[in-house]
Amino acid sequence: MPELFEDVIVRTIARLMTPFIQLFALYVLMHGHATPGGGFQAGVIIAASFILVAIALGLEEAKDRVKQKVRLPMESFGPLNFVVVGVVCMICGGYYLQYTIVPLLPSLQAVGAVLISAVEVGIGVTVMAMVTTIFFSMAGGKHDTS
């Protein structure tokens, strides 16, 4: 097991910046329909914040913040969410993923914006869980550097 990076500046800055990085990721996610951004980008930014925690504060600390029990359902949430939204559109009489056919809100544009945002949230959750899991799996292997 490699030694932790014992530097008070690095550890403090990493601890301070993590919530702001995650807040920025939420902004990118929720404004994906109006400004540049979206699910893929937001998921990667949140995953980057957990990778920063893993590098600066240790792998165990990062695994403690986003537990595997939480990540496993999140990994399958995105594709499932996509399929559910698409099938709901079919049930309402449209094509698969024809969002604006759903009679959820009075305005056609509002329905489109809401459902596109819902799909983006699913994408973000899955990308975040997957990138974090891949990093943890590869970083947590047995070190044999003798």
Binding site: G78, F82, V83, Y96, I116, T133, I134, S137
Partner: protein, 88 residues
């Protein structure tokens, strides 16, 4: 025979360099890629989808199947890593 690979590279390179002259100018709005479906997206995006960001509209609405495939690829990649490297 020693110079055969070099000659091959030079011939292909010269062909590509000549072909570059026939491409549309950089950033030209008359390029074939921008004259097919892009004007339709630009005109109808907000009325049809309700989102102002055309990139998001294309990714999630017009190309919804493609994005569904992408998210499935990421899901499959993660499952493969979990299966190969084992649980943490």
């Amino acid at each position: 025979m020693r110079f055969a690979p070099l000659m091959l590279v030079l011939v292909i390179g010269a062909t590509l360099a000549i072909a570059v002259a026939g491409m549309p100018a950089f950033g030209s709005s008359d390029a074939p890629a921008y004259t097919h479906v892009v004007p339709r997206y630009l005109e109808n995006c907000v009325e049809e989808t309700g989102v102002g960001n055309i990139v998001t509209a294309i990714v999630v609405y017009y190309r919804g199947y493609d994005t569904f495939g992408e998210i499935t690829v990421i899901f499959t990649a993660g499952i493969a890593v979990i299966a190969l490297l084992g649980r943490e």
